[in-house]
């Protein structure tokens, strides 16, 4: 190092944009454009049916095809997705979990078709099922079967695709679900420990080679707006992971103990109000994961400024990519050694996080580890509680969010003058076209080869052999995503994870005014109960495949705390189920939460089914990322109210809900 502290310029991190939508061909075009723009890796977003193992023609896929990512139903789709992109030269990150083994099988099959060497393939499968149970909600199978798939993928790639990152332990979604930095550190680490212990238990990896497995573990981390603490969190991660690798797994090679991580900065904190401010938040959050040379991200992807409004357009994503390029290439950041080595302040905060996170790691391990803490709902409940505390702090003004609870007045933003054009809309005909294409695919393939491949897959699922070879063979035979998942569902069953809401305790608000508001709401509800004879009962439903349950959970808890009887069904319920529940439970009100953009398909269907069941007198409200124009349409369909991320004051929403029940009762 030169005396100035400067050194030879570091290589920039991998810059990606999380992308994919509509169809494989449209996404391929997008990828090629992004690569031409200077992006250095691909990050594939799959649609929810692909993530949860359904073909586009499955009833549960309705409204979701091509919405939050690209639909990949079979080898032909995967081939189209990477048309003209040589896989042996690409670094591809796939956000895929429950069906990770399948999507990687398709990827390997395409590479084999391209005559690429498996050993040359680079990239990442997210493959972290624990956080799906806790936050993201795209799990399919019970925990034991899921862990088996996870370890199958890991033990396969360690020998067959050695440059692949078989798993990306995600603390990202934990923060999105409300985790504090301490919780984010602790729960990511116990997840990694759970996975490594499970790999060890397979006995497939010789003791002497276990360091290779530890060395292939990578992480996917979040960075929030409190960027100094976040910077310390990354340093704490480096220290803690080194400790785990050394002490628990006896890894002697420091390279294999390195904390390798990618980042997507925080989406939870992006606001619908004054959305242009989000680009500033995004840049500041990026600093937390790039400033420390000793704890720098290997790959960064940034959200778009308008995520809270709807699906971002290519230009919005490009703007975020430019922010990365300016930091990495224009500034002098990469010319220096670690900026914080020796800083007492950074050291002290880092150590504080290391200690508190380590204590929580021990707590979870004492409860039997990550899988057990998922099944008992312990971690989920902790996250729900933290998120409730966060929302309360924003609602009370304790936590300032510019444009939301402070400095809310301002000149109108020219960026959102025409709101409907400020987001991407997906062609509603995509679903139909995808189904037609799928039918064609099924008709063209060799039916007996498919049947044989499925039979073999079933046999392997029942045995303790690795699922990967049979899956790759099934990919070549033309098996579809839904067929692969359904075969395994038939063997292993499905799982509904704890919601964490029933046991969550929320500390009463300290400030007098807020407590008074809640008291008033409780009093009104009590009076309403006396008049109606029954306590008002609210059904909180999450239709569709989208598993982001924060909103639904927080509404459910708040509603209980003002005195509603709340029926919460968890994620992924069909319109039929919601209507059946409304009927059997005798509810007075239905609240639906949808974040995947499928509201225009799902909500009218539910309203229509309620009418058919003779329940059209039950008011329906909807919450989610819902563009203005759609709000109007939903109201015309008979929805009583629509709430979007800008409606952060839960007390107001509760007051509305009580009004609705009251009005409906008066009308009867």
């Amino acid at each position: 190092m030169a005396p100035s502290g400067k050194h030879e310029r570091d290589k920039p991190w991998i810059m990606r944009t999380y992308a994919g939508h509509s169809t494989a061909a449209a996404s391929n075009e997008l990828y090629r454009t992004n690569l031409a723009q200077g992006q250095t890796g691909l990050s594939v977003a799959f649609d929810l049916p692909t993530q949860t193992g359904y073909d586009p023609d499955d009833p549960l896929a309705r409204g979701e095809v091509g919405k939050v990512g690209v639909p990949i139903s079979h080898l032909g789709d995967m081939r189209a997705l990477f048309e003209g992109i040589p896989l042996d030269q690409m670094n591809t990150s796939m956000t895929i979990n429950a069906t990770a083994a399948w999507l990687l099988s398709l990827y390997i099959a395409v590479a084999e078709d391209q005559n690429a060497d498996r050993a040359a393939l680079r990239g990442t499968t997210q493959n972290d099922i624990i956080k799906e149970y806790l936050s993201r909600g795209t799990h399919i199978f019970p925990p034991a079967a899921s862990m088996r798939l996870t370890t199958d993928l890991i033990t396969y790639t360690v020998t067959e695709v050695p440059k692949w990152n078989p798993i990306n332990i995600c603390s990202y979604h934990l923060q999105e679900a409300g985790a504090t930095p301490t919780q984010e550190l602790a729960y990511a680490l116990v997840t990694a420990i759970g996975v490594l212990d499970a790999v060890k238990a397979t006995g497939r990896i010789p003791e002497s080679e276990f360091g290779n497995v530890v060395g292939r573990m990578s992480f996917f981390v979040n960075a929030g707006i409190r960027f100094v603490e976040e910077l310390c969190k990354m340093r704490a991660f480096v220290e803690l992971w080194d400790r785990v690798a050394r002490e628990r797994y006896g890894v002697t090679d420091p390279k294999q103990r390195r904390f390798r991580y990618g980042v997507q900065v925080n989406s939870l904190g992006l606001t619908e109000q004054q959305p242009e401010n989000n680009i500033i938040r995004i840049v500041l959050e990026m600093l937390a994961v790039t400033l420390s040379k000793d704890a720098r991200a290997r790959a960064v992807q940034l959200p778009a400024w308008n995520e809270a409004l709807g699906l971002p357009r290519p230009w919005d994503q490009q703007w975020s990519l430019r922010a990365q390029q300016i930091l990495a290439l224009e500034t002098d950041l990469l010319e220096y050694a670690d900026l914080f080595k020796g800083s007492k302040v950074v050291h002290a905060q880092t150590q504080h996080l290391v200690e508190s996170a380590w204590a929580e790691v021990q707590e979870v391990l004492g409860r039997g580890g990550a899988v057990e803490a998922v099944e008992t709902g312990y971690i989920k409940q902790k996250l729900v509680e933290s998120n409730a505390a966060r929302l309360r702090a924003i609602e009370s003004g304790e936590q300032v969010v510019v444009g939301v609870n402070a400095y809310t007045e301002g000149a109108p933003s020219p960026l959102i003058e025409n709101l409907d054009e400020a987001i991407l809309t997906v062609d509603p005909d995509i679903e139909k076209k995808e189904i037609e294409a799928l039918e064609q695919w099924r008709a063209d393939r060799d039916a007996s080869a498919v049947a044989n491949a499925i039979a073999e897959l079933k046999r392997v699922a029942r045995s303790d052999e690795n699922i990967m070879p049979a899956s790759i063979a099934a990919a070549h035979a033309g098996v579809t995503t839904g067929e692969w998942a359904n075969t395994l569902r038939a063997v292993w069953g499905e799982y509904r994870a704890p919601t964490g809401v029933a046991g969550a305790t929320v500390k009463a608000s300290r400030s007098g005014a807020a407590a008074e508001v809640v008291d008033r709401l409780r009093k009104r509800l009590g009076e309403l109960e006396v008049r109606m004879g029954r306590r008002p009962k609210l059904l909180v439903g999450k239709p569709g495949l989208d598993g982001h349950s924060n909103g639904a959970e927080q509404i459910a808890i708040k509603a209980r705390d003002v005195g509603f009887d709340v029926v919460y069904e968890g994620i992924r319920v069909s319109p039929e189920q919601i209507v059946a529940s409304a009927l059997e439970e005798g509810v007075h009100l239905i609240g639906l939460s949808i974040l995947s953009g499928s509201h225009l398909a799902l909500v009218p269907e539910i309203v229509e089914r309620l009418r058919e069941a003779g329940l059209s007198d039950i008011p329906v409200v909807v919450g989610g990322i819902i563009p203005e124009a759609d709000t109007e349409r939903l109201r015309r369909e008979g929805v009583a109210a629509v709430y979007t991320p800008k409606d952060f004051e839960l007390d107001h929403i509760m007051s509305d809900l009580i009004d609705l029940v009251d009005r409906q009762h008066a009308a009867e």
């Binding site: 409780r522 209507v579 005798g586």
Partner: protein, 335 residues
């Protein structure tokens, strides 16, 4: 849903028309004074339903977190697969502070929404400390008139299962490996011995084996100190291991529950009668307390009357109404 005439609905309830069942359940939850007569009339007209007489009421209880909802879901699927219909009452606690509740059982259940032979209703305890929900007794009777099997799922150890004994023909206690409290309660005789004992989460094999062994020991101790409290004679409480997530042991559980129902056959009527008497006493005590009891010549006398009069086609609700009127009349005389 607009309220409708219970007498008309009773017929539809017997035919398991979901809309009518739901309305009937709304009615039995209705706490307004003017609803009480209608509830009593509804229950009276459902009492003689063939399913109500020939069906099976099963209580499923155990400490929080043992996987009761998942188990209920697995049992419901298996019962349906055997061609029998099923109604479920899932009871969850209300918040003492707000009076509200989070009824989360449906979240752990997976079932076919188009299945006309399965009905699930969640109820909140509404401040009934340690007891069943206010409406649970009545709700079970509504569902019993409509479905072959009624399952009442409650949380708790040491209290609510005492209530559940009065409403269920068969009580299933679910624990998970390592539930020390349950063992202590059983040994100390604080808890009545359930009809079927289940160790759930048997996928934790070693722990589950130990738990089954511990339970055997606890049962033995309890019987040795004379806690039996059983009127069904020589029934030997089976101890089963299940894994609701993996679906193992479910068929065996249903077989055991069915075996108990069969064993009960000669005494079932008496058992249900005792349950009705107890429910009537609870209702009357809740309404009028010690003063009401002493005004009507004490608990023994009221109990004796309930035992006599409930036989005559009267429901606990209607008898309680009648006794209430007597009590009020006496109050007026003395004042």
């Amino acid at each position: 849903m607009p309220p409708s005439d219970p007498a008309n609905d009773a017929d539809r309830v017997r035919r398991a028309d979901k809309a009518a069942v739901s309305r009937a359940l709304n009615l039995v939850e209705d706490k307004r004074a003017d609803a009480q007569d209608r509830v009593a009339a509804l229950l009276a007209s459902l009492k003689s339903a063939p399913k109500a007489i020939g069906g099976h009421r099963v209580g499923l209880t155990g400490p929080p977190g043992v996987g009761k909802s998942t188990l209920t879901s697995a049992v419901a699927r298996a019962v349906r697969a055997r061609g029998r219909t099923m109604g479920v009452v899932a009871v969850d606690p209300s918040s003492i502070v707000s009076g509200g509740s989070l009824l989360g059982d449906r979240a752990r259940m997976s079932f076919d929404p188009s299945d006309a032979g399965l009905f699930v209703r969640s109820l909140a305890t509404a401040g009934e400390v340690g007891g069943l929900a206010y409406a649970a007794n009545s709700a079970v009777r509504v569902l019993a008139a409509a479905y072959d099997v009624v399952l009442i799922e409650t949380t708790g150890v040491g209290q609510s299962e005492i209530d559940i004994v009065h409403v269920a023909d068969t009580v299933v206690l679910v624990i998970q490996p390592g539930s020390g409290d349950v063992l202590q309660f059983l040994k100390a005789g604080i808890m009545e011995i359930p009809d079927v004992l289940v160790v759930n989460k048997a996928d934790q094999e070693e722990l589950a084996r130990r738990a089954v062994a511990d339970l055997r020991g606890a049962l033995h101790t309890a019987q040795a100190v004379g806690v039996s409290g059983r009127e069904d004679g020589d029934w030997e409480t089976p101890i089963l291991a299940t894994s609701a997530t993996e679906g193992t042991g479910i068929e065996e559980l249903i077989d055991a529950v069915d075996a108990h129902r069969k064993h009960l056959e000669p005494t079932l009527k008496a058992r249900r009668h005792r349950g009705e008497v107890q429910w009537m006493l609870d209702l009357f005590m809740r309404k009028h307390g010690e003063h009401g009891v002493s005004t009507l010549h004490g608990l023994t006398e009221i109990k004796a009357r309930a035992e006599r009069e409930l036989d005559d086609g009267e429901t606990p609700l209607s008898l309680c109404e009648r006794l209430s009127r007597e009590y009020v009349a006496k109050l007026c005389q003395t004042s």
